[in-house]
């Protein structure tokens, strides 16, 4: 069994009379890429702020590398790095200077290490440019560079692909996988995109309204969640007529395509049924959105 390097026990934060996070018990194992999933406002950033000692928990505690994070702040944070919400830098300084300053707060960093981190995120050619000239995507990449600069054992990334274009999102995902596979870094990654977590994480937890809904291996949690499908078929009317004749198919919506809900094991059967009835099927894809997933697990299909 893997060693748990991040644990929260009964973690909670109350702002005024409202609990932003309540009784949260997380467990992240060494080597995990841990997806922390939840819609905007679910309490993901509040949790990350408590983990990184920016917020004082109202209840519970955080243990990192087996130590209480607040009581052993210095030793714990020397092995952790991350991005909280968005990456903000000293705009009047160059990318190099920013990394030099932020890195030196953990340990002495060499010039080669700074350029190495910048090279990984593709910003080495802009090292001497002031950050105020950077686009959002470049700042996001610089955020990742500062997070990996001191080669931490645990990297915490709060919505790292937020505001990035598809290419930028892909690059960050590849970087996360590279950190995990090549450097053995444990990555704790928050997102409101199920597809993003699914693409990179091996374990995940789902948070909604500040409470933990589900936690476990991604394959276990998402394995049975292929009941929503999006079908691009022609003619649409003909396809709808055929679908309606089959009571095991629930038509969710009809637009340019048809969204249906079926048992996963019958997906191939449905595809075949449409084709044999003369319907041209241009695409037949599992549709898995966070909303669908929440719908499923709040119906009691998943164990918390």
């Amino acid at each position: 069994m893997s060693e748990a390097i991040l644990q929260t026990a009964g973690l909670g934060k109350r702002f005024g009379g409202r609990w932003a996070v309540k009784d949260l018990n997380l467990e992240v194992n060494a080597g995990d890429v841990f997806g922390f999933l939840g819609p905007n406002g679910a309490g993901k950033s509040t949790t990350i702020r408590m983990i990184l000692t920016l917020l004082l928990p109202t209840s519970g505690n955080v243990r990192i590398f087996g130590k209480d994070a607040r009581e052993n702040r210095r030793s714990v944070l020397s092995r952790v790095c991350g991005i909280v919400e968005k990456p903000d830098f000293y705009l009047y300084l160059s990318a190099y200077k920013n990394l030099e300053i932020l890195g030196s707060l953990t340990r002495k960093v060499k010039r080669d290490e700074i350029f190495g981190a910048l090279e990984i995120v593709g910003l080495d050619s802009r090292a001497q440019d002031k950050v105020k000239t950077f686009s959002h995507g470049m700042k996001q990449r610089l955020g990742v560079a500062q997070a990996i600069l001191t080669k931490p054992d645990l990297v915490i990334l709060d919505e790292p692909t937020s505001g990035l274009d598809p290419q930028g999102m892909k690059e960050v995902r590849e970087l996360v996988l590279k950190l995990s596979k090549e450097h053995g870094t444990t990555v704790f990654l928050s997102s409101h995109l199920l597809t993003e977590v699914e693409a990179v994480a091996n374990r995940m937890a789902v948070l909604n309204h500040g409470e933990l809904i589900a936690q476990g291996p991604v394959s276990d949690l998402l394995g049975g969640d292929s009941s929503y499908y999006s079908i691009q078929a022609s003619p649409v009317e003909g396809a709808v007529q055929i679908l309606r004749k089959n009571p095991w198919v629930e038509i969710v919506s009809v637009g340019n395509g048809i969204d249906v809900r079926i048992e996963s094991k019958r997906a191939a059967e449905l595809n075949k049924l449409l084709v044999t009835n003369g319907i041209d099927v241009a695409s037949f894809a599992a549709k898995r959105t966070l909303e669908d997933y929440f719908l499923k697990i709040t119906e009691g299909a998943s164990e918390v």
Partner: protein
């Protein structure tokens, strides 16, 4: 890099930091040029009140006299330049989001706030020393040296410091001015830890300074009891050092009061900062 050197580097990489130096340089150069252009008339005006009691030969205007005059003129305005940077030390990092980045690193909040405080003191000292060096430097170039003749505020006498004493007294006066201005810096610094925007601490601290000056100077008896508690009461410490003889007891009392305010403002800032939830 030590935390202090990081904070000093950050402070002096910002354009805003140099506003104080530019304003001070502009004001001092302007004042000294104007005085130089009107030297004869100004010297006559200055010595007019003295001619009945003193036999004056040569010009009474010299580097030390001009420096004391400029210090008198600017010590109401310099606090604004101090607050401009001190009020921004913590709040600007909260606004820009960089506070999150530095507080998730190993150094403790206590060390970070202390480093920021000393960086603020360093800026304050440098600005006052710059003001002093410029006043004296240009003064010596334009007017040369001589005896320092000054009218002590609230005292019924004129002080004449011989040339060899004037230089040392002026240096001491500027060192005391650093202590005096550090209290304004500490107050702005405290305000900077309370809010997440830069304007509030700057305006807030200046408002407190102005209000304290007003209360301290209004000729109402019922305000007398308040004056010992106003830090502005002690900000004129540097003037005591241009007196003859210097009342060292009074200087010590003023210095202790100013150090007390510095310590109190820093202590509050410290306790606020180390317990603060970082939501920005």
């Amino acid at each position: 890099m030590s935390l202090l050197s990081i904070e000093i580097r950050k402070t002096f990489r910002r354009w805003r930091t140099y506003i104080g130096f530019i304003v001070v340089a502009g004001a001092v150069i302007l004042l000294e040029v104007i005085i130089k252009l009107n030297e004869t008339r100004m010297a006559q005006n200055f010595s007019h009140g003295l001619s009945g009691d003193f036999l004056i030969s040569g010009s009474v205007l010299n580097a030390w006299v001009i420096t004391a005059f400029i210090m008198n003129s600017l010590y109401i305005h310099v606090p604004f330049l101090i607050a401009l940077v001190a009020g921004d030390m913590v709040s600007s990092e909260a606004t820009s989001g960089t506070l999150r980045f530095i507080l998730i690193r190993p150094p403790s909040r206590s060390n970070i706030i202390t480093a920021k405080f000393f960086a603020m003191l360093f800026y304050t000292a440098l600005l006052i020393l710059f003001l002093g060096a410029l006043c004296v430097g240009i003064g010596l170039a334009f007017f040369g040296g001589g005896d320092l003749i000054s009218f002590q505020t609230g005292m019924p006498h004129i002080v004449i410091l011989p040339a060899h004493v004037a230089a040392a007294s002026t240096v001491m006066a500027f060192l005391a001015a650093i202590l005096s201005m550090s209290v304004v810096g500490s107050l702005a610094f405290l305000f900077s830890t309370l809010v997440d925007n830069s304007i509030g601490p700057i305006i807030g601290s200046i408002a407190v300074v102005i209000l304290s000056f007003i209360i301290g100077n209004l000729p109402f008896e019922f305000l007398e009891s308040l004056r010992p508690y106003l830090f502005t009461t002690y900000m004129g410490i540097w003037q005591l050092l241009l007196n003859s003889p210097v009342d060292w007891g009074e200087v010590g009392k003023y210095a202790l009061a100013l150090l007390g305010y510095d310590a109190a403002f820093f202590a509050i800032a410290y306790f606020v900062f180390v317990r603060k939830d970082i939501k920005s």
